[in-house]
Symmetry: C2
Subunit: 380 residues, 2 copies
């Protein structure tokens, strides 16, 4: 075994944990906070609640919400200038993947200088970032836990992946109360996204005992509690989904992902498809493709999904994949690629682009563009 790296933020988890925001900021040495969110969240009331918490703690803050979905390089630079102009010392964000990734970019440029585009790729950040406190408003992106930030380079029109352990926030405050207003569709998309994080992290070439325990726990929780949460929307069951998303993020942030995500990124970039709608279609087929290289690992997933082992690891693995397919069908989501891709002729281009995705590096089995075409044709 080589050298493993495991990094997760300090986590406050549970209903009402939002109230710890001020105390956390204070403990990180905050005097003036740079608070990032997006306009869509302002009407939820959560932003005002954070303002109150900060005021009560006697903390000053600068609020920045000039963030679009798929945050852009110039939005980062504008934020970093503002951060420095006001002499801020801690970055706080409440939101989904976009404000969270933007907040990481702002913390990066404010402390390390240059443009956010200078840091594209893995491990290119040299200096420490200001302390960061993240409050996720969804249960799946995992940006509050992970070492990834995705920012759009507007000139080249590409999504840049910036990967560094210094991008792991100091503190993640996961308050499942923020989930209560989500629609059935969003709950399913988020849970399925987390499930795909967990499955791909589990079979990853760089998985470790420290990540595997979290990936299996996430799978167990989602399989068991998503149907219950959809049925009764009880806080107890929503909380299990939040826990699953957090566990899956602890796994994938440290073990990375695989072929399903390489294809999903490529499809998502071209078709603007929601991430969570792609996985039920691709994931079982990708698991079958990977099976020969990680039978025991997929059997572990099968054991969790089935609740028991069959006569051999292969049998458990195969039955587990079938069970997952049935699970996706029972959720009423699209399970064929033709349901979400309007034109089959784009597939070769999508598969070619996916070969450049860094998630492929940790997939247990190598895959060419032709292999990916076969996978896509298999689920057309």
């Amino acid at each position: 075994m080589g050298v493993l790296k495991f990094s997760v933020p300090e986590i406050f988890f549970g209903r009402g944990s939002l109230k710890y925001t001020g105390m956390c900021a204070r403990r990180l040495g905050a005097e003036k906070i740079f608070f990032v969110s997006d306009p869509g969240l302002e009407k939820s009331g959560w932003i005002d609640q954070v303002f109150e918490i900060l005021d009560k703690e006697g903390l000053k803050w600068v609020y920045y919400s000039d963030i679009s979905p798929n945050p852009r390089d110039w939005q980062i630079e504008k934020g970093a200038l503002l951060y420095k102009k006001h002499g801020c010392d801690v970055v706080l964000t409440l939101g989904g993947g976009s404000p969270m990734d933007a907040a990481k970019g702002i913390a990066l440029v404010a402390s390390n200088g240059g443009r956010v585009n200078d840091y594209e790729g893995a491990n290119r950040i040299q200096l420490p970032l200001p302390p960061m406190i993240f409050i996720p408003s969804t249960a799946s992106s995992g940006s509050d836990i992970s070492q990834f930030a995705i920012i759009t380079d507007m000139e080249r029109q590409v999504k840049m992946s910036i990967i560094s352990r210094t991008l792991v926030p100091n503190i993640s405050i996961v308050d499942p109360a923020l989930l209560v207003t989500k629609s059935r569709e969003l709950l399913i998309a988020a849970a399925v996204d987390a499930l795909s994080h967990a499955v791909e992290a589990h079979v990853s070439r760089i998985a470790s005992p420290m990540t595997e325990v979290h990936s299996l726990k996430a799978i167990e929780l989602i399989v068991k509690y998503l149907p219950l949460a959809l049925e009764n929307r009880s806080m107890d069951h929503l909380e299990k989904l939040s826990m699953a998303g957090t566990s899956a993020a602890m796994a994938f942030s440290n073990a990375s992902l695989g072929l399903d995500h390489a294809l999903a990124h490529s499809l998502g970039g071209m078709l603007d498809a929601v991430h969570g709608t792609i996985h039920p279609i691709l994931l079982p087929q990708v698991m079958r493709y990977n099976l020969s290289e990680c039978t025991d690992k997929i059997a572990q997933i099968g054991e969790v999904v089935l609740g028991r082992s069959l006569e051999s690891p292969l049998a458990t693995a195969l039955a587990g994949i079938e069970q997952l397919e049935g699970y996706f069908q029972s959720l009423g989501v699209a399970t064929r690629l033709r349901d979400i891709v309007p034109d089959r002729s784009v597939l070769p281009q999508i598969c070619k682009m996916a070969t450049y995705d860094s998630c492929l590096l940790s997939n247990p089995r190598k895959a060419t563009a032709e292999d990916m075409m076969q996978i896509c044709n298999g689920v057309w």
Copy 2:
């Protein structure tokens, strides 16, 4: 469920991970490092190796090794003065529990002022600490992972527990190569200590899904790999024990401990007994005492220890405890209290002292001094 808190350092794990020390320090903004160890480790050669790594990275350092076992308050204050005099900015330590706890105390006093004694108890630290990088030389104390520091108040002659999430180091570098020279006795004591951390954390009143996965993984690894590591001392098996110690520490740092440790601290303080020799005697009896309050949790441990479930959770739990007793016997360690306590008349005093131990707060079943006397008499 209330609000859970989960905090672990960034972890570099594996053979040769020591070489990342310089890079880690640089990434945390180090210019001049305060490096804490103890004289006993200097002849191991590891200290010189760290000096070389720091020199190569162009980092300055101040070395401080005036640390005794059970580090003392004045050693902390002397270290903190030296830290400030030299304008250090990062604390680094290589060693067992004593230099690690001392390093935490020095980082605390250097940044928060006053005396280390001012911070006794839970959550009394207000200001952030300088970045800390810890390299454990044993596989069990867990100080490199945990939010605890134990420092001796020389005037009152008591061991102070200082507990705060700000005491979690930024980075733990766990290099199993540091274990190769350990004796059979030390390997057993360390593994049994980690096993007791894992068992007590697992049944703790404040355990969470985030800690439970690590406690069960630690138990699984120790039961399986300690006998193999003792037999062939292969690096692969030593590495499993390092992983188990790290997993157990991730669990107990966040879930705390229980009755076995309350008694072990009290016995250890009075008799200077090695921590790891006490657990095989007390732990199974404490598990039986706790059984009525956490049958399902002990059954989960039983399932891991036995490799299967029996007809009921209670049957699995009981068989698991018996299996652990047999396991301890097979290691050839003391399994009766009379083997390590010279005089039975000290037991009432030991049990009385144990009632003040903060570990009792998270034990699943309440216990009076009389309850503890019954436990001690049962294993006399």
